[in-house]
Symmetry: C2
Subunit: 343 residues, 2 copies
Amino acid sequence: MKPPQHEPLVLALVGATGTVGRTVLEVLDDLEVPVKALRPFASPRSAGTTLSFRDDDLRVEALRDGAFQGCHVAIFCAGAAVAREWAPRARAEGCAVVDDSPAFRGEPDVPLVVAEVNGGAAAGAARGIVANPSSTATALALVLAPLRDAAGLRRVVVSTYHSASGLGQGGVEELEKQARDLLNLREPDPPARFPHRLAFNVIPQVGAFVDGGATDEEAKIVSETRKILGEPGLAIAATAVRVPVFFGHSAAVNVATVRPLGAAGARAALAKAAGVKVVDDPAQRVYPMPMLVGSEDAALVGRLREDPSQENGLALFVSIENTRKGAATNAVQLAQLLARRSA
Amino acid sequence: MKPPQHEPLVLALVGATGTVGRTVLEVLDDLEVPVKALRPFASPRSAGTTLSFRDDDLRVEALRDGAFQGCHVAIFCAGAAVAREWAPRARAEGCAVVDDSPAFRGEPDVPLVVAEVNGGAAAGAARGIVANPSSTATALALVLAPLRDAAGLRRVVVSTYHSASGLGQGGVEELEKQARDLLNLREPDPPARFPHRLAFNVIPQVGAFVDGGATDEEAKIVSETRKILGEPGLAIAATAVRVPVFFGHSAAVNVATVRPLGAAGARAALAKAAGVKVVDDPAQRVYPMPMLVGSEDAALVGRLREDPSQENGLALFVSIENTRKGAATNAVQLAQLLARRSA
């Protein structure tokens, strides 16, 4: 049988009209992924609309029995509730699943995969489901894996700068409206997506609070980074903060390695890593920033320096396009890995 | 002799027309500080303008020989170059000095003081000069001192969320103009105050780069926090990041104490500390944010929780009004301490 990586994919896209869904269409095009047919699905409210993909206008449909018949892979970017209901039905119809929601990320028999870090784990998807990590865990895994491989990880402290688009188009629009109102001396409406006004403010709450005083986003950063890296005991502490940025999540990361590595060693390890781009020339004011992530499919890493306050200490700053490599790009890569696996 | 704290101050204010200078006038009024006479000074460009203070319109003058004659204390908030030139001349004219610039902060015989943390050190101002710390070091010292007193400090990792007003009114105006341009689909002017566009972006550079890949702001956070706390060997690592916020610096802080303290112990220690307000009820979405600092003279602390990834680990989030307690309020407090000392 001809290996599917050379056979164009028949792909279902669930949540096709959302921010990540639309970005999946862009990424398929940008990466020139061979697609034989694409079936866009969305909520009944969005059904009947059309989406452009390459030379076609595709009609968006509501999910129904048999929706996944004949599809190789479905990419789910429609939230946890939809994934829990429909991913098993896709599987029952013979279609592999890449899920961008948190629904399956914690399940031991569902691999959580960043293509460049643990792509091989997609082959072990016993249930035919692979979970796509949260954007920040993806960024962290991409920059920590090369450091781990070079010198081992002793401890990681992360503080984030989450953008509004982590809450989709609604988050982007809320930030824009608030900023516009404030600059025109109008009182903004009470916030709907964010717990407080985000414009010209920062909010040290991303997601909902869970036990121990952390948010679920902070808990995800810890548990997902550990799972992707295959280091269940990794000492990692996270504080997640929303900032008034439209696209692009960032994180300040403090790392202690087991063995000495140094800034030069860290730079060399990161420079040769896939999925990472070293953007690090402080004298020229060059370092990662949300305004640079554009349609980047790599995590940008810079401000690489030694932290003399601890043994084998390093510090770095990372930015990632949360809707591209943080979501859509990795999902497309995982769909390709699953298609190959089913060969 | 009647103690000067009961004798109204004769006060010189250098840099009176800048963001911090104007805030000093507000603070003197808000805190009902007895002032017999106030002499505002500024650059020759601003000389001749008037400033309102209580019931008076004060004429702003340029600095000249004899400017400080008869003044008890001068508050300098005009940058390091002006402080280096004029603070010794103020001293020669018998006037004590509180300097808000970095000019003297590192000098061993100049105390670096946060009133509530090491106010007693003002008494040891051998040269009659007391330095006012940078806003972030003030915030850190305020929250770390009670934890240190309760359980000792083993290690601190800080990531900041610096506001635009750290660069004064020019920084505020640049952010506003950029945001307005972007929302109206105009290309913003090239940045003048910030190294890159700040609106809807974050910039992992505050200040200029120094040796070892850190910025001078990061170096100040480390050295000033150590000096205020009197812990020259404190293990502390900092990353300083500018965010698109007008007023209010924040920081995510990860702490390891020497002895066990726990979240409840930390909360109790902070609740009774002067200069700190515990704002910490996550279930009600209550935690420190720049939009809450208003005209607060305390550092707001919240998101207090244990960090299970290390022994005796704690995490917290702090916000401070960088032009008030981070600058003007502490300067006014230091002026009062110096006046008392000269009794």
